[in-house]
Every structure is written in C-alpha cells, then in structure tokens.
C-alpha cells in the first residue's frame, strides 16, 4: 500500500487544560499503521482526554494531531470516516435491537445499500451475536453489549479502531472474548488499533507497543518486552515498569474508577 509509511496517528506537542488542571501535557505519540497500540495509565492520567481530541470530540488547542496524514482540526469529517470508536461507557442504544444498532452505523458511514444487510449480518456473526441480533439490547449482558459496540464500530471497515477502556466493568471471560474478537478482525484486515486501558496484564498480552501515561505526560514508550527488559527486574511486568517510571501504584484510580465501573455495569439494567 502506498501509505504504509504514513502513521495512523501522529500527535505532536499536544496540550489540553481544563481550567488550571493540565490533563494532557506536551504529548508526542506515533501509532504506526497496522499495529495494536496501548495507551496505559490510571484513571485521570489524560488518556481519555487524548482520545477525545483524536476522535474530534474535543478541539485541539495546542499542538497537532494527524490521522493517516489528515489534520484533525481542519478535516474533521474526513477523519471521522476513517475511525471506528468504542467509548468507555457501554453505549449501544438499549431501546433498539442489536441489528438496528449496527444498521444505523452502516447508514451513518454510507455503506452502500446493496451490501448494507450482508455487511451488518457479517459483523454481527463475527462478534458472535447472530442469535441475539433481533433482541432488544436492554436484554444483553455487558460482554454482549461490548461486542455489539465492536460490531457497530467495525461495520464501516474503519482503518483505525479506537477503544477507550474496552474491558472495564466486564468479567474475565467477557474480557478475553473482547480481545479475541479484536485480534481476529485485525489479523484478517490489518487495521490499526489504538486502545486505552489500565489493566497492565491485558496490554502486555495484546499490544504491539505501549505508551505509559501519567499525570498528562508520556513516561515510557516501546514494546512491552523492551520496557520490561529495560527494568533489570527478574520476571518483571508492565506493572513494575509503571512503578519504576512514576513511583506510583496503578491503583491510583480511587473513587472515580469505582464510579465509572459501576456506571458502566449499571447501565441498561
């Protein structure tokens, strides 16, 4: 492909403050085309703010972001066409059926009418939801909703899939299920995946490269193995890497973390 050299995401000198609180502080980040890139850190590290600027939800003030060479501030609509986005909250529409949720996104991304039905069926099938497709989403479990959201994000064949804490609030089986589906689709079509998480063990297992973010800054960047090898700790993990770079435990999320998890789990009940 002609643009394998063009990075999927290029973030330069990005800064964003909410009042006096600097959420993102001079971040540089490059996500190469085709990789699974993990943005790691506790809640409040600035991950979600960075994602919101990349997805055009939050205006880019200082710095710049390019998605496959397109400037996010100037080419919002064009950028949105390239992105599939799964937000942190379970956000499929509970009053619609699974199929209706996916079909809406097929329409919003101009999937041609002639293939809309078949593509919708295909992603629903690939996410293991064929039997539940015509049920109202309010009857789905958390893991099913997450997979439905993946189907919504994938129906447009995005070149860049952005997942914000995709496994938060899910039980271990559902978490594994979500990662497996992502890996399957990526293996088949080579899309780029940008994922935020604060589960270090998941990142270690599933990401090609990771960036550790803490208090708005990138503290370390590399493959999980590189980062762990650089530590000089026997049988180290990304948790150890994080502690080494920040002097902080990852469980810094505190009450906000608990609340976000509860809200996610409690929705649609």
């Amino acid at each position: 492909m002609a643009d394998t050299q063009t990075p999927a995401v290029a973030v330069r000198g990005l800064r964003h403050a909410f009042g006096d609180n600097v959420a993102v502080d001079n971040v540089d980040l490059t996500v190469e085309s085709g990789e699974i890139f993990g943005l790691l850190g506790p809640n409040g590290a600035g991950k979600t703010t960075t994602i919101r600027m990349i997805t055009t939800l939050l205006p880019v003030g200082t710095g710049s972001i390019e998605i496959f060479g397109l400037d996010v501030s100037r080419r919002k609509m064009a950028v949105r066409r390239l992105i599939g986005y799964v937000p942190q909250l379970l956000s499929a529409d509970g009053t619609l059926s699974g199929r209706e949720n996916v079909a809406l996104f097929a329409r919003l991304f101009d999937v041609p009418r002639s293939v809309r039905r078949s593509r919708t069926d295909e992603v629903i099938e690939a996410m293991g939801l064929a039997d539940a497709a015509d049920r109202t989403v309010s009857t789905y479990s958390g893991g099913m909703i997450r997979r439905l959201e993946l189907a919504q994000a994938l129906v447009s064949s995005p070149r860049l899939l952005i997942l914000d804490e995709p496994t938060i609030g899910l039980d271990p089986v559902a978490r594994t299920g979500v990662w497996e589906r992502i890996a399957e689709v990526r293996a088949r079509n080579g899309m780029t995946v940008l994922v935020t998480t604060h589960y270090m063990e998941e990142a270690q297992e599933h990401c090609d490269r990771v960036a550790l973010m803490h208090r708005g800054r990138i503290r370390a960047l590399g493959t999980p193995d590189e980062l762990i090898a650089g530590l000089d700790v026997p049988a180290g993990s990304l948790d150890d890497v994080f502690r080494a770079y920040t002097g902080d435990d990852l469980d810094g999320g505190g009450i906000r973390d608990v609340r976000a998890t509860r809200r996610t789990a409690g929705r649609l009940r």
């Binding site: 492909m1 002609a2 643009d3 919101r52 997805t55 055009t56 939800l57 939050l58 205006p59 496959f68 060479g69 397109l70 080419r75 609509m77 064009a78 949105r80 066409r81 390239l82 992105i83 986005y85 799964v86 937000p87 942190q88 909250l89 379970l90 956000s91 499929a92 529409d93 009053t95 619609l96 209706e100 809406l104 996104f105 329409r107 919003l108 991304f109 101009d110 999937v111 293939v115 078949s118 593509r119 295909e122 992603v123 690939a126 109202t136 959201e149 919504q152 994938l154 129906v155 447009s156 064949s157 070149r159 689709v185 088949r188 079509n189 080579g190 899309m191 929705r267």
Partner: protein, 278 residues
Amino acid sequence: MSAPLAAPPAGSADLLPAEPGFGSAVRILFARVGAMCLVELQKLRRDRTELVTRAIQPTLWLLVFGETFTRIRAIPTGNVRYLDFLAPGILAQSALFVSIFYGIQIIWERDAGVLAKLMVTPTPRAALVTGKAFAAGVRALIQALAVLVLAAILGVDITPNPLRLLGAAVVLLLGAGFFCCLSITIAGMVLKRDRLMGIGQAITMPLFFASNALYPVAVMPGWLQAINHVNPLSYEVEALRGLLIGTPARLPLDFAVTAGWAVLGVACAAALLPRLTR
C-alpha cells in the same frame, strides 16, 4: 469473509477522501437526516406506554377546563364555541410539552455515551438535531390524533378536508420540531439535566399563557399582545385553528414564521450540540 472484515481496498476514494463539494454535502445531510429519523421511529415503536400516559394531560385540559369554560362563557370567542376554539390550542400545547423535554433525552444520551459515539461518525450535527426534532414531531402527531378523536367525541366541529388535516400535521411537526430544538439549545448551554428541567418548566407555562392557545388575542392586555406577536406558539395555534376549525388565519405568514423558527432552532441546536460531548 468479504466486505467489512477485509482490508479496505487500496486507492479507493475512502482512503484519503477529498473535501466534498456543496452538492454532495447536501446529499449527505439528507441521507443522515433519513437515517436518524428511521432510528427514532424504531425507538418509538418500542415504547407505546408513554404515548398513552402523555395523552392524559391534554385530555384533562379539554374535558375539565374546556367543558367548564364553555359553560360559563367567560372567554369571548365570537360565534365559535369555546371548546372548538380551545381544541387546536390544546393540540399545540401537548406538542410543546412533548418537545420541550427532548433536551433531557439528549443529556441522557450524552451521559450514556450514545451521543459521543454518534458525534464521532461523519454526520453533520444538524442531522442529529433534525432526527430528534422529527421524533418530537411524530410523538406530537400521535398525541394530536388522540386529542382530535376526543375533541370529535365532545362535538368539536373539525374539518374532514384531508388537505387541511395534512396542513395541520405539517404545522404541528414544525412547531414540535422548533420546541425540541429550543430544548436541545438550552441543554447545550446549561449542560446539566437538573438545570434544564428547571428552565424547561419555567418557560413552557409562560409560552403557553402568552399565546392565543387559551384566549383570543383581542382580550389580552397590550404588553401581552406584544409578547404574543413574537411567540412562535401563537402562529402555530393560529394556523391550526384556521385549518381545523375554520377561524380567520394568516396561513402563509403562520407557515413562514413556524418554519422559520424551526430552521433557526435546528441551526442553534446544531451549533451548541458539540458542547455536550466536550
């Protein structure tokens, strides 16, 4: 596996899309409005209970207020019976009450993450807002049907002319669409559900009482007549009354004003919508 899970074809127009021209921008806007309207209809199909509970209030207005004031003849409506005069006003009022709380739905969708996800799709904000305005209009129409049936049972002389009924439906749709957009605009300013509910309640009653829904303009004091002049609800009611009951109305002006407010409402709501997901 084919289409969606296969690699995007190299060199397709999707890869590095050119800036769309005006023609295709308009086409996309219409396609998106269609998609959003469709999904709102799918949602409405599933909650019919609310449609029934929401018909209670207009029923009370017609049955209790209407019947009583028809009997005591306190409000001079010329040679039109008061109940006949009131029925179109109640139609417009029930549409207003349905629509004004759509902003709360938008805030709920924001809190649930649904709105952010829609905002990241290549969908003009005006299309997202128009979908909601359409949904408010459809709800208002369903409720209007209930009110009209009741009015007919109470002996209100409603036109059987299908063109006039269609005209009334269009006016109602535009009116409901405007108040829905007003509500979303306020939601975009206050950002919080509680404050929106307070403001919603604070403006619906004044809008209603400062209109010609309950009494003719002629009996209003001068200052109220002035407010009535700029109140979109009054133009909506005048058109509905003219079309359904046959009272004198300035139909072209009424349509123009109602449609103008609706377009302005979509523009304002679309401009403020992104504030909700920041």
